[in-house]
């Protein structure tokens, strides 16, 4: 479903991604781990079209189309979703209006009829229950005054609403207590189908107890330096990133 070949990207002339290769098939969950500054969040930003970064080399093909050619909104309409590490507060834009606009723009893109207000509210109610988000939250402005946990739950709620084919979860576990982590992970697992895929970016193995990956990659200095099954995460947790650095130095 997603194929990344030799992806290089820079910000202000500084190269962050130095040749990423990654293949994710439908039905798979991949995890990316790596030390701070290795390029994990940059990869998420480049895949979703944040214009702070310039792609200097490489190719990304998503569902047979050149992803890098597309505007951020078209990537989203094609089925790319990013759960933000730091979700943005947008005072004055209501959650309902935000989600209704997003869902209907996606439907329009696919040539479907927009949902009526009643249909939309019903749809939203179902998804809220599915991801166990507090009903009150959707009555407020986007993320405004939400706690860290509420913001992350809200990301998963948006994911449920938009039903992406490819979801990137950027440190979705950071700032979550155990209960919130479980709820967020449950939400992600419920949304998992054989037809979609996900890329989970995390520092800690803990999240991967709940969202079990098929493959774990280690990103170091802008490159994937090691890929293996889910046990790699455990090994990494035990030995730390120094282990990888030493292995590479050999």
């Amino acid at each position: 479903m997603l194929s990344i070949k030799n992806l290089h990207a820079e910000i202000d002339g500084k190269e962050i991604l130095k040749g990423i290769n990654l293949e994710i098939k439908a039905g798979e969950i991949h995890a990316i781990m790596g030390p701070n500054g290795s390029g994990k969040s940059t990869l998420a930003s480049v895949l979703t079209g944040r214009d702070l970064f310039t792609v200097t080399e490489g190719k990304v093909v998503f569902k047979g189309r050149d992803l890098l050619e597309m505007a951020p909104e078209d990537r989203a309409r094609e089925g790319v979703f990013l759960s933000f590490q730091y979700p943005i507060e947008i005072p004055g834009v209501s959650m309902v209006n935000f989600m209704k606009t997003a869902v209907n723009e996606q439907r329009k893109y696919k040539g479907e009829k927009p949902l009526s207000s009643a249909e939309f509210l019903k749809f939203m109610r179902e998804k809220k229950e599915m991801v166990e988000i507090d009903t009150q939250l959707t009555n407020r402005s986007v993320n405004e005054g939400f706690s860290g946990g509420e913001k992350k739950k809200n990301e998963i709620f948006q994911m449920a609403m938009l039903q992406p084919d490819f979801a990137i979860l950027d440190e979705t576990d950071s700032g979550l207590d155990i209960d919130a982590l479980r709820i967020v992970a449950n939400g992600v697992n419920k949304l998992k189908t054989p037809n979609n895929c996900a890329l989970v970016i995390t520092h800690y193995q803990r999240l991967l107890d709940y969202i079990v990956p098929d493959i774990v990659h280690i990103l170091y200095d802008g490159k994937i330096v090691k890929s293996a099954g889910k046990d790699l995460a455990l090994e990494l947790e035990e030995k730390g990133y120094e282990w990888i650095k030493n292995e590479l130095a050999k």
Binding site: R50, E73, I90, V93, L162
Partner: protein, 451 residues
């Protein structure tokens, strides 16, 4: 001959016509004002308070002054249907600022309420007029106010007696028409006695794409415990200049909410003077200005806390696009006696382009020692992080920008306490931000075609 002399001569040459059938005290005010034009001048950019507004181009442009009631052969009542849906409004028309002779207000208001042309009030209710007319003008001389006092002879007069609450919203519509470049001087006087309440909306509508100069002045007395809600909706062509001065005088426990919506116009200037003269009086001043192309909009406010325990709350927000120029200058004055004052002032602005400019000057001048005051201003761009967040959910950049702009503007719109009116104005703002015609659905005049 300089501009001041020219303007003085317009008064002097037409004195007989202007001062026919009006009481002596009005004539005296006019004489003094006309002399003051010569003595104090018409403000240009060298005047601190008019640094960013210059109407001399308009005034030197061979304007045709509207110096006597204007006959109109169209029946404006038939054309005009701008009532807000689901809201009980009473529309009053002015024709180039002259009270429209076919306004029919008989039995439309509770007993004792007076609504008529100011010119008519000069003759019929001279005692009330004398008590309030020119009594609430700012101490600092302003040549445009002098010009208005010298030449303006009509507008609306509203008197709400003690204890009367008017349920209907008065909607004053000033239609500017004619094919020459007009100078239109409007003068309104609104008097609310103790415990009275009134909501009124003022709209200016220019029918032709002419280079008009509108100089509108409203004085309002808000008696003890009285409530006034006052809306200005400005929607002028790019060619027009509109200067709107509001002078409010508030007695104890009175409550004012002033909302100014500058939606469109070549050159707009809003002056608001609010004097809190009695204890526990409260002023809300809100302003929203949306400006693009080469439009200019300039806001000046002066809140004078004279009595103790009064409160004021001021919020002005502006969105400037293209090459627009915006300005805000707000002063809160807290006099020595005005202990326990609470006064808050904020001005936030968005510049959407590198070429739009906003100048803002929030000011506090405090002579009492036990007060709570704050002031602040921001000028910024749309939040790029928020924009990307919306786009990342499949919302187009254009729509995402609109959502953010609308959210920004809504901080002002949401203060409108009446839901149908809030929806109507919200719709006007939304259309304006989308770059569509900003006219009410029910308006048959299609004047925005001339934009």
């Amino acid at each position: 001959m300089n501009l001041e002399e020219k303007l003085y001569n317009i008064y002097a040459d037409n004195k007989d016509k202007l001062n026919m059938d009006i009481p002596d005290f009005i004539r005296e005010y006019a004489d003094i004002a006309a002399n003051s034009i010569i003595k104090n001048g018409i403000p240009d950019k060298s005047y601190e308070n008019y640094k960013y507004s210059d109407f001399s181009g308009f005034l030197n442009n061979g304007l045709e002054y509207s110096l006597e009631p204007e006959k109109t052969n169209i029946d404006l009542n038939e054309y005009w249907q701008c009532q807000v849906p689901d809201m009980d409004t009473q529309v009053i028309l002015l024709s180039n600022a002259w009270y429209y002779e076919k306004n029919n207000l008989e039995n439309k208001f509770p007993k004792g309420v007076i609504v008529c042309g100011l010119r008519e009030a000069f003759v019929k209710y001279p005692e009330i007029v004398k008590k309030h007319y020119s009594k609430y003008l700012p101490q600092n001389k302003d040549g445009y106010i002098d010009l208005n006092t010298a030449i303006a002879r009509d507008g609306v007069f509203i008197y709400v007696p003690k204890g009367v609450k008017i349920d209907k919203t008065i909607q004053l519509v000033n239609l500017i028409h004619g094919f020459a470049n007009r100078a239109v001087m409007q003068r309104n006087l609104v008097v609310l006695e103790e415990d009275a309440s009134l909501r009124m909306i003022i709209c200016d509508h220019t029918l032709n794409r002419t280079q008009n100069f509108i100089n509108s002045l409203t004085e309002s007395y808000i008696g003890k415990n009285a409530h006034l809600e006052y809306y200005s909706i400005q929607n002028e062509p790019d060619t027009a200049a509109l200067l709107n001065t509001l002078c409010f005088y508030q007695e104890a426990n009175s409550h004012l909410t002033n909302l100014a919506f500058s939606l469109h116009g070549g050159s707009l200037r809003n002056n608001v003077y609010s004097t809190l003269a009695g204890e526990r009086a409260h002023s809300n001043l809100y302003g929203l200005f949306l400006s693009d192309k080469k439009q200019r909009v300039d806001n000046y406010t002066y809140i004078d806390h004279k009595a103790p325990t009064c409160t004021s709350n001021e919020l002005y927000k502006g969105i400037l696009d293209d090459n627009a120029r915006g300005a805000f200058s707000g002063k809160i004055m807290v006099r020595p006696d005005a202990q326990k004052t609470e006064a808050y002032q904020t001005n936030n602005n968005l510049c959407l382009t590198d070429t739009a400019k906003m100048r803002t000057k929030p000011q506090l001048e405090i002579y009492a020692d036990d007060v709570k005051c704050s002031h602040g201003a921001t000028v910024g761009q749309l939040d790029q992080e928020a924009l990307f967040y919306l786009q990342s959910r499949g919302i187009s950049k254009k729509e995402a920008k609109l959502m953010l702009m609308f959210a920004f503007a809504n901080d002002i719109v949401r203060n409108i306490p009446v839901i149908p009116l809030k929806e109507q104005i919200s719709g006007l703002v939304d259309n304006r931000l989308r770059g569509e015609f900003t006219e009410c659905k029910h308006c048959l005049l299609n004047c925005s075609r001339n934009r």
